[in-house]
């Protein structure tokens, strides 16, 4: 099953429409879409506006591929379960989000070998057509890196820890 998700906060019709177009000619592949509140309603796949977190988790576990925006909630949850991810970033200039930060995120995570980045609708269709291009991803840990856990823990347990002593103006 392919899980399509645009997060739970706002629709991302460009992504849903593109996958729906693909689904129309791939009836043997089951697709399920979380389209966001008020999103465009697909014609060729099952959809829901928003899935409660436990149900979303279940769908994610059953997915063989995830097609999503570059939201870190989706990406981290999918990587946890070792799922393959194709990411179409939301664009600031199309008002799909505030700015182009999702593009930077998608590019960086692709460079790390964690996701496949589709820059536009045509690339998304191309990547859907080439399953070999989306190798199964290594499963990441469910938790932050040991270094980060340790830094936060040490800070919590050490009341006098001061990393950057500030002067009265808050400058270092």
């Amino acid at each position: 099953m392919i899980l399509i998700t645009v997060g739970g906060q706002m629709p991302f019709d460009r992504l849903v429409q593109t996958v729906d177009k693909w689904a129309a000619t791939h009836r043997d592949t089951q697709c399920f879409a979380q389209i966001g509140p008020g999103g465009w309603r697909p014609k060729h796949m099952e959809w829901v506006e928003f899935l409660p977190p436990p149900v979303f988790r279940e769908k994610l576990e059953n997915a063989s591929l995830v097609v999503a925006h570059a939201g870190m909630g989706t990406i981290l949850s999918a990587l946890d379960l070792g799922k393959r991810l194709i990411i179409l970033p939301r664009l600031g200039r199309l008002r799909e989000t505030r700015n182009d930060h999702q593009v930077a995120t998608a590019k960086r995570l692709e460079a790390m070998g964690l996701v496949v980045h589709a820059a536009d609708e045509n690339q998304l269709l191309a990547k859907l057509a080439e399953p070999n291009r989306t190798e199964p991803r290594r499963s990441t840990s469910s938790f932050a890196s040991p270094q980060l856990i340790n830094a936060v823990r040490t800070f919590i347990l050490t009341p006098n820890a001061v990393l950057h002593p500030k002067d009265a103006n808050g400058n270092t």
Binding site: G7, Q9, S142, A144, F155, L163, G170
Partner: protein, 168 residues
Amino acid sequence: MQKIFSLLVLSVDHAAHEDPKKRVLAISSGGGHWVQLLRLQPAFDDQDVAYVTVNRGYASDVPGCRFFIINDATRWNKVGLVRMAIRLLIIFLRFRPDVVVSTGAACGYFALRFAKLMGARTIWLDSIANVEELSMTGRLVRPYADLWLTQWPELARPAGPDFQGAVL
């Protein structure tokens, strides 16, 4: 009001001597911010921790933990921000944290400011989604963050933010 506040501070000091566990308030908005906050759990799950977020459904992610709900608001919704700040202040007065940790966004800004007013120590972990520059909230909290972290080594600077690993 001042009297009430100093009483409050005194009782915090008193409690701190009795219980070696730290009261940690972990706060974030929804979606990726919340997922990243959860990934820090091993850093404080044996402390006295309370979670504050914007979606009641997230309670199932932290079974058995103290859990508070606030309304969600961004910097474009001033009324929502005021409501959020008031709700948060009440939570602070009830829980009286020793340490506040946030992964964003707007609610984390208020939380760090209240924390400094009440003498708590603060951690800001800027979202891993901010690859090219720190988030706007991340820059605004700078004066109130005792531990001010980015998740990308390229964004770290000698005067902060620091890089100490990532949630990934």
